[in-house]
Assembly symmetry: C2
Homo-oligomer: 348 residues x 2
């Protein structure tokens, strides 16, 4: 049995979408057990209208909810009875619980999971890793998208190792092509961090490093995993998503501006629907935290039931593939001088 906690409060469509997503996952995976976290009365009232395997569901009561605008440090300190913090505490204390899925505040989740659940042995800092669709129908992961803004080349090496294992275990990739985000593709490009990272990645065993990538090529389908500092990763992800969405909005506005265009668009309704679905992050699951002792997945705030289901599936597959222990083993196998294993693995 794989046991996953689902934080049912915090997203735009919570708790219903989160509960429905959990029930979809229960129906799909016969060895899945879910712990629904949040206001017991509300969750039970909603569940009472549904049909599902009651043997594989429990509810963890939590009366409070963390607001998206709360400072992560305040949320952790002051909202101890919130659905997210109670779920994180359970993740820390309950050995049978493998992972957590949440659609709540990203900052609070990353901070709480990193501090309370703790790092895997050897991990310098956990990294936050979203997935984007590529233009040829594939996907590409970005490590790190904002968890760590001040980094050294060692971080990037660990992102490459952890991210490669993630893409193999969850998406069944055989060969994960890793690239370093840079301002040009030539080896000598970038600042000192990038030059040192290029060399380190080139000499890291068991990853397939194929060189530098320019941000314009993220969706090209030529890369499976991009490693970068959290600042430029955040700029990369948001600029790519933002531009795609702005383009679709502009197209919609322009079509509405003339009858002739509306007639033309009528022939293309299905296509436009597909374009929209293509850029809808809800169709690609959530961002995962790599490097923590337990599996953590953050779904988008606007997640519907399918999106929550996909997040639970990600957590399930990570645990099924023993991702945490695989990461520990891979980091342990690195040449001595490159390890960070003497660091404490938990701060609280």
């Amino acid at each position: 049995m794989i046991k996953i906690a689902v934080d049912c409060f915090g997203g735009d469509h919570s708790p219903n979408a989160n509960i429905d997503g959990a029930l979809l996952a229960l129906a799909r995976f016969p060895d899945l057990f879910v712990v629904l976290c949040g206001d017991e009365a509300i969750i039970n009232a909603y569940l009472s209208q549904k049909k599902y395997d009651k043997e594989r569901v429990s509810v963890l009561h939590a009366p409070e909810v963390i607001d998206c605008n709360e400072k992560p440090t305040d949320a952790i300190r002051l909202k101890k009875e919130s659905s997210m913090m109670k779920a994180v505490r359970m993740l820390r204390e309950d050995e049978t619980l493998s992972g957590l899925v949440s659609t709540g505040s990203t900052g609070a989740l990353v901070a709480a999971a990193t501090l309370r659940v703790g790092r895997l042995k050897g991990v310098i800092r956990p990294t936050f890793c979203p997935i984007m669709p590529t233009m040829n129908g594939g996907i590409v992961a970005v490590c790190d998208s904002g968890a760590n803004v001040d980094i050294t080349p060692d971080y990037l090496q660990q992102y490459a190792i952890m991210g490669s294992l993630y893409m193999k275990k969850v998406y069944g990739m055989k060969d994960v092509r890793v690239a370093l985000l840079n301002i040009g593709v030539e080896e000598e490009k970038g600042d000192d961090l990038r030059k040192k990272a290029y060399e380190l990645l080139s000499n890291t065993p068991d990853i397939h490093f194929i060189g530098n990538m320019e941000s314009r090529d993220l969706l090209s389908g030529k890369y499976d995993l991009v490693v970068c500092d959290g600042f430029s990763g955040n700029v990369l992800i948001k600029a790519t998503e933002g531009t795609a969405l702005e383009m679709l909005k502009k197209l919609k506005r322009d079509i509405s501006s003339r009858l002739l265009y509306k007639i033309g668009a009528f022939f293309m309704l299905k296509m436009f629907r597909e374009e929209k679905a293509f850029m809808d992050y809800r169709n690609y699951g959530g961002s995962v935290l790599l490097g923590t002792k337990k599996v953590v997945v953050k779904g988008h705030g606007s997640s519907n039931d399918t999106a929550v289901f996909k997040c639970i599936e990600q957590a399930y597959r990570m645990e099924q593939g023993s991702l945490p222990s695989q990461i520990e083993m891979a980091l342990d196998a690195l040449p001595r001088q490159k390890k960070a294993e003497d660091l404490p693995t938990s701060e609280a």
Copy 2:
């Protein structure tokens, strides 16, 4: 008379597009004089087929061309007889020459102009500043897009001052809304550099700093000038441009996939042409180098005659608005401790 040099070799459509662009500018601005740089025989042969005011054109012979793939340092050292390097030398030596427009290698141009033409008094490092279209029909400038990857808050302050003056002088903006690229809009977001820059920008007189900007909002029309380090600026610009172009390509591919879509698209030909023009950087002029003693504009490698014309117009307006001396005066007016005026202003 405003005298501008045009490097006629180096772009995809050079020399013809560059010469044609120069002739368009001559026709538009009666007090413009252009110096066409490159192979004299080729330039004169092309000019002999054209009608233009011969009194306002001269040719600077340069037999070599810098290749896009050459390392900038090699290009500067080894290609002294190239059109770009001879133009840069003339810019340094001829006091009556105000500026240079090139569609050749960006790295070589930025390096040569910075090193050979030299910085304005008080400027720490010149910055490379492109323009992007916004979704509401306006434009936004980004400083820096890759010239300086290791920076301090002082750089960002200078970018804000220089960029604001540029937007006022060249685009006639009255109020230039300046934002700092960051991983969130809240004041406390980002690393140490961003936090210090936020405070410094908030306390800089004569600029209109409106806070942090997330990369997804670059095209929103809410900002006129974005300041950032050259690494994340490069990621921002290329991710935004790249995604927009990939989206258009995908749309084109998808339309071709079904007859029904092709019929629909037929009604929308004009609209699609407009979408393409909207994202075509050639319609927005080139990237300018801010902080050098003379005006330098870099057009895209694929520039056609209109694009080259727009670059010349930018250089013309910068000089017409006395941008270099305006920048020196603005930096000189800064509170003492924030100035970098004791730095040498030229390195060669």
